[in-house]
Symmetry: C3
Subunit: 341 residues, 3 copies
């Protein structure tokens, strides 16, 4: 797996400045990289580490300042570094070929070529699993489920009946897709369950973290669109629609029937109320509580969430509030005295 | 499964106004309903959709305004609609009869009539499973567990030892009931584990969402009373007591030994501190942090949670605070000038 | 299992005051204890229950006031009580000896003496399980995993490849250790997955609650140090480092690469931003949002988190804000009038 620095530069179509003959055995972060390792600087705040680094080469941007260290210039250093990382750490095959003898696959299930299914997996009637999938041990897949090609489902995941999973999807362990939406019709003090007869659609290139819960629709569908990335422990309620390439950090929750636009960024532990629409390219800072629709390209923060500059102004003002109370009492005293005079 | 509109009206004991002869093939939401479908209006804000709807019949309340659309009047349109929904989408049977050959059921376990147990289920010694239950694949049930009749436990659930589950309960995938409470005795910097030797009781008609965690009591019991509905990813700590028919939205957490009254409504991502008592018919808005006891029928919001009208007044005032800072500086200037004069 | 009060006193090396001859059959909390039971008072606020208690003996501190009840004095009543609790509730053995026939253990796996492995457990290549472990049903352990002696892994846990678990560790059901960190390199609107090739290290004497998610490092390691206690539904992102004996309550989340010091106390539903350092002996109140580094021994609260005395002053001031608005309007009126004069 050894390469030279020159070979690395060629591999990522980068421009080498410095000694290309040094051997490269692996990759590391700039703070940790030693001789024989390639590293990168994408965020300028890490540039300070360059002088003390003994890395054999550093992948940097096209406009990175000149240095006497060996560098490889490229348009997107992070993405280039990823390619080198993947070279040295190829995805390891962790399931045996074929279907493990302890898996319980209904005879009506179709399993595509080169798909591997681990021990203890259970797949219900009429489900279709695409080509070249990896389904890890003790996953449970219900009836009438579709899983696209090249999809990876880690151990102990549950896919309930009629869920549709696209191609090149990754679902991490413990995640539940297609559980019943939380819907009840109230009659006095009693809640009657509303049957949840809709489905969940997870489109291509989605990644879903560990121990998430994605509820099926009441009627219709809950949909996670192409390229969405969800972190761990995220709640997606019934009939939610998450737009393409939106990224959501851990422990956030989206209430029923809300529609998120595409290319959004949602921080961790955010809560979004039900039945609202969020535009495209919206950023919601961590722990915010969103209770109203948001126009495209807005950046919000706080509880309740409001435009981030306003929220920060208000927060700064709140810091001054105890002092303000004193100033107002002083003003009142002065005025009282002036009135007496 | 086809009905006429008249038959639907009769089925829900409703009062038909309009053409009863049209055939009905299914149900849909008012925004989506087409000819051949029945829909409903319960919340007046959806009344605006009535004119553009091509539904063959609309279930409405007794006092809904007259219309030239075909309507069926009934006391509770939502509950009536549910009955029609269930008619067209009967609960599908998704487990084979009996106990799957790969399930590992201790010989001492009692399993009631008509109960179906899926592949890979494990049930420990002396547990008792009622009649007509459905236990989905890879569920693990410990020793001395009791599960009542007609209870449905979805895939990958864990019930630890000595847990009691009532009748007509639904437990969604990935939920853990009876894990150890989080209790330690501190001695200097070291924490000693407090054995958690209590139990969990889940009464009849409870529904628990996916990936929840309900800890067993330290001593005594954690109890989820009759008719409680929990959404996904909810934390219920040791010795908590949740009153009848209380509904809790996703990602909320209740700390140890807290007692919630009956008929409460708790929004999503709410946190409730330990060792307090919350009255009956209390509403706690989403993302609130409750740190003090709450009297019955209070409605609270915020962090820390306070009466909702007060919280909203304070929030509104906070919006004005940056402006207020300016007004006060102006006042101070004026007074200074007046004092000089 | 019956003891006398004298025997209990001797067992915990305590100083008996009162009748030592009464028999003891069990333990209970001070509010609940009856004749034949031993209880304790550690927190002075429970002292009020002493007069009405019919417990046969009460374990108290060395400086507890004199009483006519039978008491046993000891340095740490809580820890002493725990020893009595353990005597009456010894850890029950809940797995059969050896490895269940339905477990799928790769032939290359090493399993230590006296370890018990339940039904449906799957263990991948080259993993090493220590002595005297308990691995409950349907746990999935990947390749190259190490589990130390005396470790307890409850049902439906997933340990991904290369995870290292120490000795005397407890992992509750549904927890996922070693799932991929949430890391993507952005190129336009598309996110490229960053391979997560690091590991997770869980040191000795750690307890991890149910349905937690602990992600593997991107490169290097995520580390949970000796004696850490995590409650349920906690998110630990890639490359996080949690210091010795730190305790974290349920539903908290720590973003990537953040380092927590030792002996910290983190409340429930706390969020901590990525890439910061938190000192030793830090206390973070429930629901706080920590966005900046914290020095050792600080106590913070709020969103954003700030020193607790400051946060409380600001909160108190916020309560007065609506009233303040009126006072300022009055001042402005008065000044306007004075200016006219």
């Amino acid at each position: 797996m050894e390469l030279t620095v020159s070979q690395v530069a060629k591999f990522i179509s980068g421009k080498l400045e410095g000694d290309g003959s040094a051997p490269v055995y692996g990759v590391a972060k700039i703070e940790d990289a030693h001789e024989g390792e390639v590293t990168f600087i994408s965020n300028p705040k890490y540039a300070k580490f360059i002088d003390s680094s003994s890395a054999s080469a550093i992948i940097v941007g096209m406009d990175f300042p000149a240095t006497d260290k060996t560098i490889i210039r490229t348009e997107n250093p992070y993405v280039a570094f990823l390619r080198v990382l993947r070279y040295f750490h190829p995805q390891k095959e962790m399931l045996e070929e074929g279907i493990h003898s302890s898996a319980v696959i209904d005879p009506s299930v179709f399993v595509g070529d080169d798909t591997r299914i681990g021990a203890g997996v259970v797949i219900g009637k009429n489900s279709v699993i695409g080509k070249n999938c990896r389904i890890f041990p003790n996953v449970v897949i219900g009836e009438d489920v579709q899983v696209g090609d090249n999809t990876l489902i880690y151990a102990n995941v549950t896919l309930r009946e009629q869920v549709h999973i696209g191609r090149n999807v990754i679902i991490h362990s413990g995640t539940i897709i297609g559980s019943d939406g939380f819907g009840f019709a109230r009659e006095g003090d009693i809640y009657h369950k509303i049957p949840q007869v809709g489905i969940v659609i997870v489109e291509d290139d989605v990644e879903i973290g560990a121990n998430c819960t994605i509820d099926r629709a009441t009627l219709g569908q809950t949909i996670i669109r192409k390229g969405v990335k969800l972190d761990n422990l995220i709640q997606v309620a019934h009939n939610v629609d998450i737009g393409e390439n939106t990224v959501i950090a851990a422990q956030s929750g989206i209430a029923g029937s809300t529609k998120l636009g595409k290319n959004g960024i949602v921080g961790g532990q955010v809560g979004i109320v039900g039945h609202i629409e969020i535009g495209d390219y919206v950023t919601i800072a961590a722990q915010s509580g969103v209770s109203k629709p948001l126009a495209s390209k807005t950046v919000v923060f706080g509880y309740p969430a409001r435009p981030i500059m306003q929220a920060k102004r208000e927060e700064a003002a709140l810091r001054k509030l105890p002092d303000l109370l004193k100033r107002i009492s002083e003003l009142e005293d002065k005025i009282r005295r002036m009135e007496k005079e």
